[in-house]
Amino acid sequence: MTSLRSTIAAAQQAGRAALVGYLPAGYPSVEGSIELVQRMVKAGVDIVEVGLPYSDPVMDGPTIQAAAEVALAAGTRTADVFRVVEASAALAPTVVMTYWNPVERYGIDQFAASLADAGGVGLITPDLIPEEAGEWIEAADRRGLDKIFLVAPSSTRRRLELTSQASSGFIYATAVMGVTGAREQSSSAAPELVRRVKEVTDLPVGVGLGVSTRVQAAEVALFADAVIVGSALVHAIAGEANPTDAMAALGALVEDLALGVRRELE
């Protein structure tokens, strides 16, 4: 199984950033999300982030909120997320991104076991800070899963140190103070944040929140080891009336972003 670090290192060796693509499991249906994730990998995503749809996504803007509502209304369960992971992990290193309560409810150790059994390699936890993560860190270490915590422009140096010590795989840098959603302007805070993270750790840094175009991906690829795209992909799918067009729109956007992380702008 390919690890997050080796995947990002391979991209670095090829002189580019890695492309990380996020899609919520169960959107628009479990089977539909499996096909979309597979399409995303074929079109050039290096690492897949499968979202666990949650009733109270405080870090997400309207696009991902709406997708989560659709997924939950369609009856998506935690166990379904692992099915999507399994299908994705066969093609590319795959992590889950989830708010914390569904993990506690599933059972922390059990969640780690199911994720590892499905071939997942790590977990991104947007509302879990290392200070509250003792049990998760133990469970993840037992299963060899990566623990991807977030840092933000507001993080102090002491917190950057603490968070990077608790992290593995890569560090997730939120480029702006805000929620997920495509933004027209690239963040001016992101390069500074990545510089500060690099001062305290050798871990690769992925930058997310707001990237939606090839140009933005290229800009972020200048200073980040991985470019994370979520809302823009969901938006591309949501804009299409039928599954075939949604697949095509997603594929086209990912191909474009893949050129961006290679800094191929023409």
Partner: protein
């Protein structure tokens, strides 16, 4: 007291995006400094006294006492400015906001009570005020929407999720993470991430501290028990805080039972929920098998929340306080009883605490002195009460209006 990271036993803590951790640290520092600063405390007390009309009276309800077979002392928070205990918390947080040099305040509201209190404090301190309110609640509580706007607040309808209080909190958190540099999030109850539960308790504990002194003066000894309703838990923790160290005083919290907690349509988080994480804290909550938050149900909008403050979870687990579920019907009966025996119309929230009296009498025996937090007045609930009791015939009303 919680530990340094805001844990009450295994409850509490901080389950928040990293982006908000530094702002929460900053808030905690300011709050700790303020509570140790004589000048801040004096300013806060002066505001409570001269602006909010505190300390609230302790009133011995003799005819009610006769009816229930115990001596009932009411802590009259219903007489406070804006009509509920909530004014204590917002004045404390608004004063703190000015010390942090922030200009903008955001808040969530369900029934509109906390929204009105927040809008009031912001008008007083000349702060910009934005209140998030579920679209469903805005229709149910149109009068309070008008009150907030009258006070200069912007009320933003929340259309995501279940369009009620929990989604208003989500939306306020999204605003906060985006605008935290100049914005304070004025959370309306003793829940949420550390330091909110302890901070809100500090600002509302006047309820219990005043009541303790008043009871001692009136009776010469402490009451047998203190009773309060529990939504997120601010009036209850404010009352309990005055008595936690007094082991002889039993503490009783009353949760909203809706149609009866056995039916699944309720807001009895401690009675019938499970431990989990919601809105930044670990506590009891209403959730499904996958940890998705369930909608709560109560006739009382102020208690209609699927979570509860972490200190209550801890008081329940340690056995220091007892939590019981009160159905809509029981609460409405108690509301009518107080109105008829004492000429006081309580908020439906507070009526849940009154409805708990017979159970406590059964526990402790008759002729004990019970202190009940009358957290608010019922003016805001007259629509609901009119429908419940059939106080007005809608056809008659329409005819009356037409005649005019």
């Amino acid at each position: 007291m919680p530990d340094a990271a805001g844990h009450f036993g295994r409850f509490g803590g901080r389950f928040m995006p990293e982006a908000l951790i530094a702002p929460l640290d900053e808030l905690e520092q300011h709050w700790r400094k303020a509570m140790a600063d004589d000048e801040f405390v004096a300013q806060f007390n002066q505001l409570l006294r001269e602006y909010a009309g505190l300390p609230s009276m302790l009133y011995e309800a003799e005819r009610l006492s006769e009816a229930v077979g115990a001596r009932v002392l009411l802590k009259r928070e219903d007489l406070n400015h804006t009509g509920a205990h909530k004014i204590r918390n917002v004045l404390g947080q608004a004063l703190l906001t000015t010390k942090m040099n922030k200009r903008r305040v955001i808040a969530e509201t369900g029934a509109g009570q906390h929204g009105v209190a927040t809008a009031t404090a912001c008008a007083y301190f000349d702060l910009d005020c934005v209140v998030y309110m579920g679209e469903v609640d805005m229709v149910r509580q149109a009068l309070n929407v008008a009150r907030m706007r009258m006070l200069g607040a912007e009320v933003i309808p929340v259309t995501s999720g279940s369009r009620t209080l929990k989604d208003a909190i989500n939306e306020a958190l999204r605003d906060w993470v985006t605008n935290v540099d100049d914005t304070h999030y004025m959370l309306g109850t003793a829940a949420g991430a550390h330091p909110f539960p302890a901070m809100v308790r500090d600002f509302t504990r006047g309820i219990g501290d005043e009541a303790r002194a008043q009871t001692l003066e009136l009776l010469g000894h402490l009451p047998a028990a203190a009773l309060a309703c529990v939504g997120g838990g601010s009036n209850a923790i404010g009352m309990f805080a005055g008595f936690i160290a007094d082991e002889s005083v039993r503490l009783y919290g009353f949760e909203a039972g809706g149609d009866g907690y056995e039916t699944g349509r309720h807001a009895s988080t401690i009675t019938a929920g499970q431990i989990g994480v919601l809105h930044g804290t670990r506590s009891y909550l209403l959730q499904d098998e996958d940890g998705q938050t369930l909608e709560s149900h109560s006739i009382s909008a102020g208690l209609d929340y699927p979570g509860v403050g972490p200190e209550h979870a801890w008081l329940a687990e340690t056995g220091r306080a007892t939590y019981t579920s009160i159905s809509d019907a029981q609460a409405m009966e108690a509301m009518a009883l107080l109105a008829r025996t004492e000429g006081i119309i309580p908020a439906i929230e507070s009526a849940h605490a009154l409805a708990g009296v017979p159970g406590v009498v059964a526990d402790l025996g008759a002729d004990v002195e019970l202190l009940v937090c009358l957290s608010g007045r019922g003016d805001k609930d007259m629509d609901t009460a009119a429908k419940w009791f059939g106080l007005v015939d809608e056809a008659d009303l329409v005819a009356e209006v037409k005649m005019k």
